[in-house]
């Protein structure tokens, strides 16, 4: 028998806290990517990076270190919008000498940072800390970028609910007006014995000449107000 369930309190995404979510995501990242630790820096409205989540206290310290010293992979990654990293924090010379020293003191040997993007904009970076040196496997690189992408989507999901509701309305209007225009085209092809392309140009011309929206003209055709006199 079909069952309907209304009990969604457990799964509603509206109420959850962004930071809590990102923290959980860094933990998942560590599990799935087999890295030592992970952290996320996120830009605020002014474009200033802030630490929002870290899987461990050591990672948290290193993220804060980068922000305070204004040096490190996460910052470069955010600035350039490209993945950056260092496969051996013990080698010389170091791109980020102070950061490398701090990271090694926390027991890390390699680091990667991938950008978090929302549409075209870089909104933050995901940092992965590894305990042994060497290049990351291709899987890990792909997965890390994928994680950064979903983290961004998660933020979109939470932060911009009002915005997505606005988009939702636009999409619905687009669907509605699309349907209306197609129906009006169909009506005109029969009434005027013309083809679909001509029906559309007729609607367009009339919309332009009368300074109306195409979908409004289409609605008038459906309402029968304009009959076949066009």
């Amino acid at each position: 028998m079909a069952e309907t369930f209304v009990e969604l309190a457990d799964t509603l995404v509206l109420g959850f806290d962004t930071i809590d979510f990102l923290h959980t995501l860094t933990e998942r990242c560590v599990e799935l990517l087999h890295v030592g630790a992970a952290g996320i820096l996120l830009a605020d409205q002014q474009g200033v990076l802030n630490l929002v989540a870290a899987s461990t206290e050591r990672a948290r310290l290193l993220e804060l270190f980068q922000l305070q010293e204004d040096e490190g992979p996460c910052l470069d990654c955010f600035d350039t919008g490209r993945p950056v990293g260092c496969d051996d924090l013990g080698a010389a010379p170091q791109r980020w000498p102070r950061f490398a020293m701090a990271a090694r003191a926390q027991g890390f040997a390699a680091v990667d940072a991938v950008p978090m993007r929302l549409r075209e904009q870089v909104i933050g970076a995901l940092n992965l800390f590894r305990t042994s040196p060497g290049p990351p496997s291709e899987d890990v690189t792909l997965l890390a970028q994928s994680f950064a992408n979903v983290a961004a989507i998660g933020i979109l999901h939470v932060r911009a609910l009002w915005q997505s509701e606005m988009i939702a309305e636009q999409v619905q209007n687009a669907l509605d007006s699309g349907v209306t225009i197609q129906q009006a085209k169909g009506i005109l092809t029969v009434r005027l014995q013309i083809d679909l392309a001509d029906a559309l140009s007729l609607l367009r011309t009339h919309a332009r000449n009368s300074n109306q929206l195409l979908s409004d003209v289409a609605q008038q055709v459906i309402d029968g107000r304009r009959a076949s006199s066009t």
Binding site: M1, D10, T11, S146, F147, S164, I167, A174, Q183
Partner: protein, 242 residues
Amino acid sequence: MSSERLAKVLGYLAADAASHGAEVSSESACDAGVRLAGVTGVQLTLMSGPDRGESRYATDEVGARLEELRFTLGEGPCADAFRTGVPVLAGELDTGPNHRRWPLFVPAALEIGARAVFAFPLRSGAIRMGLLVLHRTRPGAMTHEQMSDTQVLADVILSLLLDELTRVQVENNTLLADMPLRRAEVHQATGMLSVQLGVSVEEALVRLRAHAFAEERPVIDVARDVVARRLRLTPEARPDPA
């Protein structure tokens, strides 16, 4: 906890997309949903009303045909989920109560090979945006875990889809209003029939559907015949699906 659930689902989507070398998208999320929810197929429809829906993606043919059935018959778990705004889960379609509840949909769905249908409404705030429809070719209820995951998956897929639509709009510098409709012929045929039969567009769509149902053909096929003027419905010929 909901943030853990979301992290779990997103982590799953990320891992799945990465294993295919793909980016997470509404489509990749549907593909991943098949395994996450333990189903045979997943199908995604964007809607602004029961008669105004656009299938965006289906992982398999059965999923695509289930959406066709929803649109043709206007009944079934998918139609109910959209109308009520809550998930409608039928772990076994082939039961007496389900045959009585959806007398047209159930036999048609069984015919195309679906034995279980789980319809989740996509919602953005108060706005009903469409449906995520999962099906199994063998009967079996979803576990509570699968239901909760799918609920979150549906929300994420809607976010992805809205983001993709907006992105297309920004990249092509077009308006969403220019979004191409995949059922364009159905609406064109509806307009044509309304003139030919002298009825409202709403009534014309009912006639089109009834004809498709009687002929056991997809509405879109019949619509294409009408648009190509291979088929002309007459005012008196009105098969009644009920």
